[in-house]
Symmetry: C2
Subunit: 375 residues, 2 copies
């Protein structure tokens, strides 16, 4: 049984200055909250999302049994992040396509849909926007900020942009920046979208089309990198989709893995916004707190005062344990309080969204200890 979640919306008329030098005004943030803010407003936990997720982190929508939030296994009454003790906030990032202002909305200056004119936003910009939302909610300091993958980058950035506003940061399956290979996969996905004739330079909305070919390719590439080689072999191997005989065709589906990827691509292309895909992958590419410090991560993380939990998964080749260990090392160099768990899980990057007793146990214990501080 999941609890009922209700999306909320807050409008921000005043301009948010962006890292690029541009700004965005009259924007809306979609968010959800679960649990109750305590009297001294000390039990708030912000959950940051990755590429294909939203403010709908946990619970289900009224009358929609299958609408579980994307981290419903992690967050709720009696779950590792227990909403009986914490006030949990999920927020949809600017530029996304699930409720907050994004490329599909109207530019207040022109009255036209933003499309490709939506300003490039960074992890730092998202964190800034999240901080303004917390101001509106009357939350001065977070008990914790929590995120996986790109969400982990936001959690890390919180500790650098607003060190005094974060007591704990939980950074799961993340990295201090993307590798060349990570950027390369993002770039191929973007090129597939941008060169789709239905993209129309990012202004496809006014043509009544969607660059679905590009979105499908982007999603298929994504899925390959989310899974481990091992789990792919176990789930699909070289299994044929139909019977035992080969069809000898280059275009028909022959192997189960092809069927899976095409299905995932088709599904994604039905609901995800192409401009959002470009924006979010670019935010990933740009994130690099060490950049302003000549590449020195230890120096970059010196500002952080939060206590940290980092979690990585052995078979995650997208954000490998090595990358989490770089963050751990830089924090230890700064004599910060860090816990680190490397979970031996077979599922690759996807593991951060899945049930694994040890993983859930580590997160649960950490939040238990935070809860004790509140008492």
């Amino acid at each position: 049984m999941s609890f009922i979640a209700t999306p909320q919306f807050l409008h921000f008329p005043q301009a948010l200055p962006l890292q690029s030098g541009a700004s965005i005004r009259d924007y809306t943030l979609a968010f959800e909250t679960y649990g109750t803010l305590n009297a001294d407003r000390s039990n708030a936990v912000l959950v940051c999302h990755a590429l294909n997720a939203s403010h709908h982190v946990a619970g289900v929508y009224e009358g929609q049994d299958k609408s579980e939030g994307w981290w419903n296994n992690m967050i709720g009454p009696g779950k590792p992040l227990d909403t009986r003790r914490f006030f949990v906030i999920g927020v949809n990032n600017l530029g996304s396509c699930f409720g907050s202002t994004g490329p599909m909305h109207t530019h207040p200056d022109t009255g036209q849909v933003y499309g490709a004119d939506f300003p490039v936003v960074t992890v730092e910009d998202w964190v800034h926007a999240q901080a303004r939302l917390l101001d509106q909610l009357g939350i001065e300091q977070l008990a914790a900020v929590l995120g996986g993958s790109l969400g982990g980058m936001q959690a890390l950035s919180w500790t650098l942009q607003y060190p005094e506003r974060v007591r704990h940061a939980v950074v799961v399956a993340s990295a201090p920046n993307l590798t060349a290979e990570n950027i390369a996969f993002n770039e191929v996905a973007r090129r597939a979208i941008v060169t789709d004739p239905d993209f129309h330079g990012g202004h496809f909305y006014r043509h009544g089309v969607v660059p679905k070919r590009g979105l499908r390719i982007a999603r298929m590439i994504g899925h390959i990198t989310y899974l481990s080689d091992d789990v792919m072999n176990e789930k699909f191997g070289r299994q044929l989709r139909e019977g035992l005989d080969l069809k000898y065709s280059t275009q028909d589906i022959e192997f189960q893995i092809e069927s899976y990827l095409r299905y995932q691509g088709d599904k994604f292309s039905e609901y995800f916004d192409a401009n959002t895909y470009l924006l979010i992958t670019r935010a990933l590419d740009y994130f690099d707190p060490a950049r302003a410090h000549g590449g020195d991560l230890t120096q970059a993380l010196a500002r952080a005062t939060a206590r940290f939990l980092l979690v990585s998964f052995t078979t995650d080749w997208r954000f490998s344990p090595k990358r989490s260990r770089e963050i751990v090392k830089a924090l230890l160099d700064n004599r910060r309080d860090v816990s680190y768990a490397e979970i031996d899980a077979p599922h690759g990057h996807d593991a951060f969204l899945l049930d694994d007793a040890r993983y859930m146990g580590v997160i649960g214990s950490y939040f238990d200890s935070i809860a004790k501080e509140l008492a």
Copy 2:
């Protein structure tokens, strides 16, 4: 200084029965030979190619200084495969786009360009066609068959289809079949090509267009999988293409790695045939000698009587050392004569085409020992 290579062509009027049940007749094979066939015709070495290569294995074309063959570092006078001692044959596979009959040629039954109607060919079909070529050249038995990647699969298949015609097989950076992840990458590349509006169901020639968008994406994906994460970080890292300042753009090139991939994609789309790409990746997907033996590779390789050298590269994640070791194990289970070298090279799958003293040394020593058998 490279020697002068000259392409030759042989026409085969009689039908070649294919594994699919179809057949192909009136086809031409492009090939090159280097060195001299000795009196007892015992020094012939067949070199099999991978996706983006051809019969032009070594040497340069008359008056074209920069036209070195794709394995020119490996093959030639005084090189690891020494053309002063061996008679080396390179052959372009059926369905390729570099001289042998392929999708761009005319179907003898219809008088139309094959396009998507070119029959699906397998590794076994290629080996069969190569054997027929050797018949024409009067070569009953090969001193060795040599190939890397998909070429290595052909070398392995030679030892199973024509065990009595192969004394040695040199299988480099290869695998006994593709993993689900390998197939997945092939499938994404194929979908990018097939869904390009300029593909026209594989009959784009008659429309005077080329599905370049799809070919570019396919090649970009390929390049990511050819390189190791480490070498990508070393060569490109997070280096920006211009200056030190970010442009904050989702479509402009920002990082060097993006520039490299786009360049490789553009170049490839200018010369490679889209239908050939589909055919060759499908031949890769299908190769699986253990399939007919219920997945038992040991049983599958029992037919092989050749002596083997296998070589793999530590950072090759496309055809990892683990896959080569599966072949080694299956051969040893059959008490075959096998040498195996695992080269600690940083370059990923690409290493099989690059100079590495230990790699060249291993191949050179092995061919030295074969040469001694000839004396």
